[in-house]
């Protein structure tokens, strides 16, 4: 194995054929930066390293571009919420008997894109905001625009409710 060799000749190679970097080789590389005339031939090992670094950089750059594109194109970070209300059998009767019933809040705050789902298992139709649901029916409605809705609500003691649709940020 040769520890020191002439930069103008073939680089040092181990018996196994793997290039062997040396102190002398490093010095000659530095020297080569200012004069290309004396550039030594690159070893297969260095070529592999350069290719690896280049390819890795390229992959990282592509990944960065893809991530940036997806972030720019993507929907807002918060996912839409499904507000599900299941009206049990006997609810209307309970309310009729004066029992307080707060299945739905008096003021329901939702975000644009959220979905209101009402399932009516009672024996009479029920109204929750913009949806009237017959017995045995399940209706869903997605709030598509920001606004303030005041409407009837048969599953609230005060018989009405407010829905505030806020913008998705």
């Amino acid at each position: 194995m040769t520890a020191v060799h002439d930069p103008d000749t073939t680089p040092a190679v181990s018996p196994a054929g793997v290039p062997e970097p040396s102190v002398t080789e490093t010095a000659s590389t530095t020297e080569m930066a200012s004069t290309t005339a004396s550039r030594p031939p690159r070893s297969p090992y260095r070529r592999l390293v350069v290719f690896g670094v280049s390819f890795g950089s390229l992959v990282l750059a592509v990944l960065a571009v893809v991530v940036a594109l997806r972030l720019a194109d993507s929907e807002p970070t918060t996912e839409p919420t499904q507000h599900v209300y299941v009206i049990d059998w006997g609810t209307a009767r309970q309310i009729e008997l004066g029992q307080h019933y707060f299945l739905v809040p008096g003021v329901l705050r939702v975000t644009e894109g959220d979905e209101l789902v009402v399932e009516n298992n009672d024996e009479t139709p029920h109204v929750i905001g913009p949806i009237t649901v017959r017995p045995g029916e399940r209706i869903s409605y997605t709030f598509t625009s920001v606004g303030y809705l005041q409407g009837a609500c048969t599953v609230h003691p005060e018989d009405e409710m407010v829905i505030i649709v806020e913008p998705r940020t």
Partner: protein, 203 residues
């Protein structure tokens, strides 16, 4: 080989970005699994020019859509907003708007005379039907067919409070409510839904 693999990687990474997001083609309003059928309901037609004593049945002309709305002319917000949004949506539809008809039922017949109704609804649409009855039971029966409701309360100070369902109902020529568009859908939402509905109905 490395180049091909690299291209495959880029395509794989870009594909989800291209497919994500918009799921266009869906309704803003909602449809019921078991649609309402309102073909059996009718009300006195008090539209200017309609024969005296004629009644209007809730079904669209063939190839048309009938948009039904329950409201009143003294409404400060929901009714004028909805009717204005529907007007704007029809303008966006262009020629296809000819296939969208409007019928307005007053929930406040005591104040909404035929003349007032025609004047009011006529300010939002050139073609329309205005329906009015003094028979509360008849009004309730029609509201019930649409699962709509209304209440009128006269306060001690004489002010009148009217609450009513503010949905737009799209009815086809069989008298089936094919879509309900709640208040808040906006012009964009109504336009979107009318376009989709008209695609479904052969002209």
């Amino acid at each position: 080989v490395a180049k091909k693999w690299f291209l495959a990687l880029v395509v794989a990474l870009l594909a989800p970005a291209a497919c994500g997001g918009d799921d266009g083609g869906s309704y803003v309003g909602f449809r019921r699994p078991d649609a309402l059928v309102v073909s059996g309901a009718s009300l006195p037609d008090v539209t200017t020019g309609a024969p005296e004593g004629s009644r209007f049945s809730f079904r669209a002309e063939p190839g048309h859509l009938l948009m039904v709305y329950f409201g009143f002319t003294n409404c400060p917000d929901l009714c004028p907003t909805t009717l204005a949004e529907l007007r704007a949506a029809k303008r966006r539809l262009g020629d296809a708007a000819e296939r969208v008809d409007l019928a307005v039922v007053t929930v406040d017949p005591a104040r909404d005379t035929a003349e007032i109704l025609n004047q009011y609804v006529g300010s939002f649409s050139e073609e329309y039907r205005v329906l009015r009855t003094d028979d509360v039971d008849e009004l309730r029966a029609v509201e019930g067919a649409f699962l709509a409701s209304s209440t009128i309360v006269t306060n001690p100070d004489g002010t009148v409070e009217v609450a009513h369902t503010a949905n737009l109902y799209a009815v086809d020529d069989a008298g089936t409510v094919v879509l309900e568009i709640p208040f808040g859908a906006g012009t964009d939402g109504i336009t979107n839904d009318l376009e989709l509905l008209l695609e479904e109905i052969p002209a």
